[in-house]
Assembly symmetry: C2
Homo-oligomer: 309 residues x 2
Amino acid sequence: MAAIGIDLGGTKVQGVLLDGSEVRRDAKLPTPHGGVAAVVDAIADCVKALGGVPKGGGIGIGVPGAVEADTGEVRRAPNLVGFEERVPLARLVAKATGAGQVRLDNDVNLATLAEHRLGAARHEDEVLGVFVGTGVGGGFVLGGNMRRGVTGAAGELGHMVIEIEGGRRCGCGLAGHVEAYAGRASIEREARRRHAEGEPTLLVELAGDGHMKSSVVARALAAGDAMTIELLDEAVRALGAGIASAVTLLDLSLVVVGGGLPEKLGPLFVGRIEEAVRSRLFLASSPVRVVPAELGDLGGAIGAAQLVT
Amino acid sequence: MAAIGIDLGGTKVQGVLLDGSEVRRDAKLPTPHGGVAAVVDAIADCVKALGGVPKGGGIGIGVPGAVEADTGEVRRAPNLVGFEERVPLARLVAKATGAGQVRLDNDVNLATLAEHRLGAARHEDEVLGVFVGTGVGGGFVLGGNMRRGVTGAAGELGHMVIEIEGGRRCGCGLAGHVEAYAGRASIEREARRRHAEGEPTLLVELAGDGHMKSSVVARALAAGDAMTIELLDEAVRALGAGIASAVTLLDLSLVVVGGGLPEKLGPLFVGRIEEAVRSRLFLASSPVRVVPAELGDLGGAIGAAQLVT
């Protein structure tokens, strides 16, 4: 049965019309920053661009934050204006679109679910999905089921401690976390700080005053920029330590790495992460593999559609 | 139905006769270091001391190493002489005792299972058990089920990375792991190293040439020994970081801390670990609690008995 999946991101609303395992259509809009009503309108516009709610089908939505899957409420999504507090998003979208069924989940959980059902983990019963974009998110399928945890916040691999003292400050306010070294935002923060202290880097030259996108990091790396090489070495090392700790703790067989940064940097980057993981594994004989995600940009939206199919 | 549980440790064979939730008898023997046959004999002696295999009942055995629960084989238990390679322990014990059913599992998994069924986690669906003895082991019950992992080695919290560079050497050969700071053996290693360099400490004075037992650490702490205070501060910090990472990754509600060191140091030590965990949690509102184990020394054997009840 066909269904619509929406990946509601901080910068874009990405939608797909999924029919079985086929993406029939996709559509993308910028995320409005005018509050909840504007976001609901943008989702409704995206649904229209996909041909409307399919007969008998529903809408699944991935949200970059904490959600309550049962009630269809967003608890908190700090990167979306208007979502600093609880929002009954499923109800609002149902009303705006006429859809009979609207379900929510965390965006990274859904990207992991999509890789599990249709992507790099489709032959596996278990997978840890690690997504490196602005920050570092993670999601688990364990024994065939999504792991949500006691408050629905499971998978925060980006906030595992890998440096117990004097570690780099993380976006969350604490220090020494994986994300403090491996997220695009922390790479940008560090590059701008060092640049402001007089150290030259292509990262700042290419980005100017705009966002330092993943594509900028890829171009600076391709040009051999010294600071980029160094910061990416640190990112690989941090991801290696965090993923190795997760594998050691849970004895996992497969890790899928996706998100903007690995996509722009390509499979070699994921290969380097796998090496870094392997060098830190307690169980040297672990069969774990670390592989690139297969569904790319559309993964989150595909996973969202699978919530209602 | 009554059953026998054996906790086969590196220094002692601890047995219980469990009837429902009641320990009817318990018995303890030193672990022989003469190879597999001697260990099997010691287990059989322990079973005799408990009154023999109960009619219709079986024997469960906890092993300090990697086991194959299905086949009843020990894959590797480096702290037991003769168990460096695969041993069909269940079959050997069945033959030696005449028991109809003999099952194995990892000792830390079983101690966690016992806390889940009868101890500090008996009202919970999920628990992370952390046991601090010679090393640091861990076990999970997730969604009511023991988490074993793809090779049966899940729960190695002691080998999570908490110091990404220049961390203290761990017993496993890698560096910067939780166990490198928090296990009794690593505390002993560090104390003897510093003592050899001329730094006085009650730890070495009290232990002499013998094992630096957990009770020695407790006595040195009670006497206000400066190095003991420092090393235990580091242990608390390391356990806090590792457990916080596990809680953040899995969104857990309960952590039970047991083992020789927490038992000798008492609930204040576990309280300090809880504080250290809380200070490092990404989700400040997490409902997680960190509490002392309730079943003490007999926990592993009780969990083992539950394998066959």
